[in-house]
Point group: C2
Chain length 331, copies 2
């Protein structure tokens, strides 16, 4: 069982913090990025429909470039920069899918990217980012070290920070997966996305509620990293402290920006136990023959754990990614 802890991101970019996206912002983002991204397939499985007694539509962002939806937000952020900003490049601190996504988005648009990573990040992740031509700045594995390194790069190069989720343009990009899902299947009644930092859920809920308020939007979160659930039900932003879950893409906590969007647009947050997440990941591998990462399995796990809520419904599931370390599987 792979277990990892990660510190939360700190927000540098206070000025854009409470700029709340609207439906048209997601639509504009899609026009902007659609020639750069894959319009990923929407897959079905008769076996899983029978098993869960509902109709499931999997929007497969595991087939997106870099293997995750993160490429949508990173591309939209890069393309939204001014010519002068583009010249100065971009920077982020991440060791996950956002790092690879920003590196590739920058490369495809001729920008320099600098990625701050802890020196102890997995070699495979370092190689992925380096393979996309980004410059990597290694730092100590602490939040302070990451922030200091990022600030130094910003001061030295004038690069723009592209935060993984606390960023208006990133959120708008992430919402385009739901746009494509509803373009292909317009009678969906419920849309479920994983929730970590909340970028995907913010973008998705903004689009879905903008198009049709009757469609329910649900966030799926590991019980072991349930800051969104606690924040949502209490009304008070409450970050997780050192969460431990196999869904390693969902360790981060909501920001003020994503929390405010989610409070406005999302119907509920449901949590899933570790066993359910792993079981549902294996179910999808076995029955659908596609690789999804544990974070993505969380959306199916909440369906499994709450059968009464979903019976006979048409449900869109945003499968966030397929980046798995096969030499360290959680089963």
């Amino acid at each position: 069982m792979r277990i990892r802890c990660e510190v939360n991101y700190i927000i540098f970019d206070k000025k854009s913090e409470m700029n709340i996206p609207e439906l048209t912002d997601i639509q504009s983002a899609h026009s902007r990025i659609k020639s750069f991204i894959h319009n990923t397939p929407v897959l079905k499985s008769q076996q899983l429909n029978e098993l869960f007694n509902c109709e499931l539509f999997f929007k497969c962002e595991n087939f997106q470039k870099v293997g995750a939806f993160k490429f949508r937000g990173a591309t939209n952020a890069v393309l939204s920069l001014s010519p002068r900003e583009k010249q100065r490049g971009v920077v982020t601190h991440s060791s996950g899918n956002h790092a690879a996504a920003l590196a590739l988005a920058a490369k495809m648009n001729g920008l320099r990217a600098n990625i701050v990573m802890p020196g102890n990040a997995p070699v495979v992740k370092k190689n992925a980012v380096a393979g996309y031509g980004a410059e990597i700045t290694f730092c100590e594995p602490t939040l302070q070290a990451r922030e200091d390194a990022t600030r130094q790069i910003m001061e030295k190069t004038g690069a723009t920070l592209i935060h993984p989720y606390d960023n208006f343009n990133v959120i708008c990009g992430q919402g385009t997966a739901a746009l494509e899902l509803l373009q292909e299947k317009d009678d969906i009644e419920i849309v479920i996305t994983p929730v970590g930092g909340g970028g995907l859920l913010s973008g998705t809920s903004t689009f879905v509620k903008g198009i049709n308020k009757k469609i329910q939007v649900i966030g799926a979160e590991p019980l072991n990293a349930n800051d969104a659930f606690i924040s949502f039900t209490s009304g008070i932003l409450t970050p997780s402290v050192n969460p431990v879950t196999c869904a390693d893409g969902l360790l981060t906590s909501l920001s003020e920006l994503t929390f405010s969007i989610i409070r406005k647009n999302v119907d509920r947050i449901l949590t899933a136990k570790e066993d359910s997440i792993i079981e549902c990941m294996l179910l999808v591998w076995e029955r659908m023959k596609i690789i999804i990462e544990p974070s993505s399995a969380t959306v199916l796990a909440v369906v499994k754990e709450n059968p009464g809520l979903f019976e006979r419904k048409k449900i869109g599931l945003i499968i966030s990614g397929g980046n798995v370390d096969f030499r360290s599987l959680p089963f």
Copy 2:
């Protein structure tokens, strides 16, 4: 590393043994089965194309019903029976993909199916076959016991034996994957399939050479189970004795029927080492986010091991299946 040994199939059905299929037989089979099967997608991967310096087109039979191309042949065999034969049902001895394929093909057409399996077959395989409504007859794990049990069922019920590959109609069904591949991508220069008993390679080569003699057809075989390579190069049918390979779908040896078709239509047999097979399976999982079984990875492994043969070519790879025991992975 999963290692398994399996005895070869013995041919009961001598009378149809040397009935050699032709192009029109594959085309007829496709008309017969197309409303029952999935027309599986043909996928590409820019990363793998760059890595191997050629253009690869993956015909994804891992997305076929029961997770393998075997459903094509089993369905064609079932649909080709006379009304009287249909009434008496079908029987086979297998613990692999063919057993599940025949069980489902029979169920979908209202036939009884009896599957002879060794008592020590994996529970997951027993459950799959039972889940499709077939009757299972357990026997000792020896060839003699399997044959005796099968013969007893045939004598008692009048059921027709549907051999996994030494069967005209099964071979014709298997050839329909190549038909769909070339329908979708007609400028392919080379087609590669795995070769175990030779049903898939026989059907594929019959179709491909029937359509265009200039397209090369290559069989890919594990070096550790290289009976097809030895038979093909020596001209003498030479079954493997207790082969050991991670590609557990390719343990069986050619029959006289498949050998004669392969000698006529196939350009070459190439072998792949175990390490290459496992490496290529992982490559496809990681880069394409799809589950393929080790047998399927053999086709990519021969490309990897023989770069000079494939440089800048357009290559169709028949991905035979995606049934993997995730709790016993070969890496």
